[in-house]
């Protein structure tokens, strides 16, 4: 009698715990549709859940790239869903049913910058490599990742350091200019990279002797502001306010006679842009 009571009690406990987990999980995803190119918490959960049932083998980083995309499509095809590679309501529901998600485990390791995986059936403690506590290393990575696991999606062919360098150059060259003028300076750099008469990568174009006054007088090493960074992103994403220019100059301070002989395209702010 007593034993049975205990058994019932345990069963009830277990059921309520299960129920609790179930509801907790269902409420985890936000109701947004997730798609390739997305970043953020929903993507982290999606990747973790897909990894839990062994569809996704990449890094859980919160950036919905091609790896996640194929994993999701495979999941959709095996679970009889419409294969569109997007995390819609139905897909998320099925996924929640099929997998588990330990938010604390995933988030804390992500924040701490520990390399970890999240496969179902393997004890979590075996899936994480705690970083050796070196006073400088782990502390800084932890800080950088704190609450920000999103990676800015960069256009193919550009690295983060290319963009930083371009932001420096744009800021040094055109910080007093209107925003559109900053984008234009950025696109001149992009146009030069594409042009056979100039070096074919960003840093060589920027540091070509005599190419930019900001490089010659050291102003390139000023810390760029947000506006310059945004302008660079617009320029490498394809906006070209200079309309294909590969030179520009300030008519008040231009020192070379030759530059005046170039066919001009237009004037933005203080700069004249030309071919």
């Amino acid at each position: 009698m007593k034993k049975r009571l205990i058994r019932v009690f345990y069963a009830a406990m277990l059921a309520s715990v299960m129920l609790f987990i179930q509801t907790n999980e269902a409420a985890a995803f936000s109701d947004r549709v997730i798609m390739r190119g997305d970043t953020g918490d929903d993507v982290i959960e999606l990747q973790a859940r897909l990894q839990y049932i062994s569809f996704y083998k990449g890094k859980i980083d919160g950036a919905f790239g091609y790896g996640t995309y194929w994993a999701l499509r495979n999941f959709q095809s095996q679970f009889g869903l419409k294969i569109d590679g997007m995390g819609g309501a139905q897909t998320k529901q099925k996924l929640v049913k099929a997998s588990q998600y330990d938010r604390n485990f995933v988030k804390s390791n992500l924040n701490a910058g520990n390399p970890f995986t999240y496969y179902g059936g393997i004890p979590l403690s075996q899936q994480v490599q705690k970083k050796a506590k070196s006073p400088s290393g782990s502390a800084t990575t932890g800080k950088q990742n704190q609450g920000k696991y999103t990676i800015d999606n960069l256009p193919q062919g550009y690295s983060k350091s290319d963009i930083n360098l371009m932001a420096n150059a744009v800021y040094g060259e055109a910080r007093g200019e209107p925003y559109i003028g900053q984008v234009a300076v950025g696109s001149v750099i992009v146009n030069r990279v594409a042009d056979p008469r100039f070096p074919n990568n960003i840093s060589d174009v920027i540091f070509q002797p005599g190419a930019f006054t900001a490089v010659a007088d050291g102003q390139i090493w000023l810390t760029p502001n947000e506006s310059a960074k945004k302008a660079v992103m617009d320029a490498i994403n394809g906006w070209d306010p200079s309309n294909g220019a590969i030179y520009y100059f300030n008519p008040d301070t231009a020192t070379s006679a030759w530059i005046w002989s170039r066919p001009q395209i237009g004037k933005i702010g203080k700069h004249i842009f030309c071919k």
Binding site: Y66, Q208, N237, S256, C274
Partner: protein, 442 residues
Amino acid sequence: MRRRYWIVILSAACVMLIIGLAVWGFQERQMKKNVMIHAENHYQQAFHELNYYVDSLEESLGTTLAMQTRDTMRPQLVETWRLSALAHAAANELPLTLMPFNRTNEFLSHVGEFTYNTGVKSTNDRKLSDKEYKNLQQLYSESRTIRDGLRDVQAKVMKDHLRWMDVEYVLQDKNQNQDNQVIDGMKRIDNQATEYTDSFSPENPKNVVLQKKNLNPIKGTEVSGSQAVSHLKKWTGLSNAQVVRVAKAGKGSNVPAYEINMKAKKRSLSASVTKKGGHVIWYLFERPVRKETLSLYEASQRSGNYLKQHAFKNMELTKRNKYNHVAVLTYVLRKDNIRVYPASIRIKVALDNGEILAFDQTDYLFNKCDNVPLKPGMSEAEVQKQLNKNLKVQETDLAVFQNATLKNVLCYEFFATRGNDTYHVLLNAANGNQEKVELLKE
């Protein structure tokens, strides 16, 4: 007595000061001299390297001309390709950006492209075609002209101890009188090369905007500046915007257009509108975006609606980038169920309220892409045999792609995975040649 004492002390201090200043000045001067010598040596090294590489390049091109089959030629072509890259790098280290030294650079990049396409990329072993052989000959004779010119300058530099630092100063000087032997020599090389550049043009500049002959003719009648403005207002839906400036694009622009600046909602909007037909080429309506309430999916719905409103049909979303609380969505044309990559449109959406911040249809308007046959010459299965066995194909499609020689080609497009990496492979649908393989970054 006291006074004399002071005078002695003061004058001693003065002497000390003067000596100190002199020592300090001397050290500064010495340091400056060291830095100058350092910079000068760097330029000299680049210049002599350029000479050396152009020298070897000329020899290498000459040797190639004597060879018969492509198989025997290939090592020599690869060597030439390597030399052209090194010469180009050396040339770009000289302080010549502000003078017409372009043609040597252009020549070097032509050599690079030609040798790469004929020697490295091409997989068959047929002889060079007559046209290719002729091109090679032209490149060879051109390399001799440039080599001779460079040698002249080099001889002068050595004989008269000319300094590249002076070149830099002269080029940056306001004084129009650029009397410098090095510059004269370089200019001469540039002028001699004119004839060649005009006659030989394997795919000149790469950029769409730089390339006139591949431009699509724009339809429509000429519009005036005010008509262009009203087109822009209608397009952006900002009928109350104040016009700040309307200017005609200068003669350097490939397409006659109006540059328009407007003010609306206390922000400035910049745009370009073609003279013919009044098409809005691009616009940017910048503002800070600080929070993120929309998802990428919702943003893509906004941009989809935007395209619908502006009567674009059959556009397919291919790329989505999200950064700094904005989303950039790239659409390409889908014609007869074939992706036409060169015809693309970009839209930037703010993720706080879904406003369309920027739009760009340069490629869609100007890229000529109706000259491609849309029937594949080979079957998909045949082409797929060319793929690496370790690749797992996830998606296959037909696509028009602009290859490195700026030709539009019909390709089979494979999205394939190997481990955690995803590849985008484009194989020519007519002959199975590999046009492009790229490792997609996440």
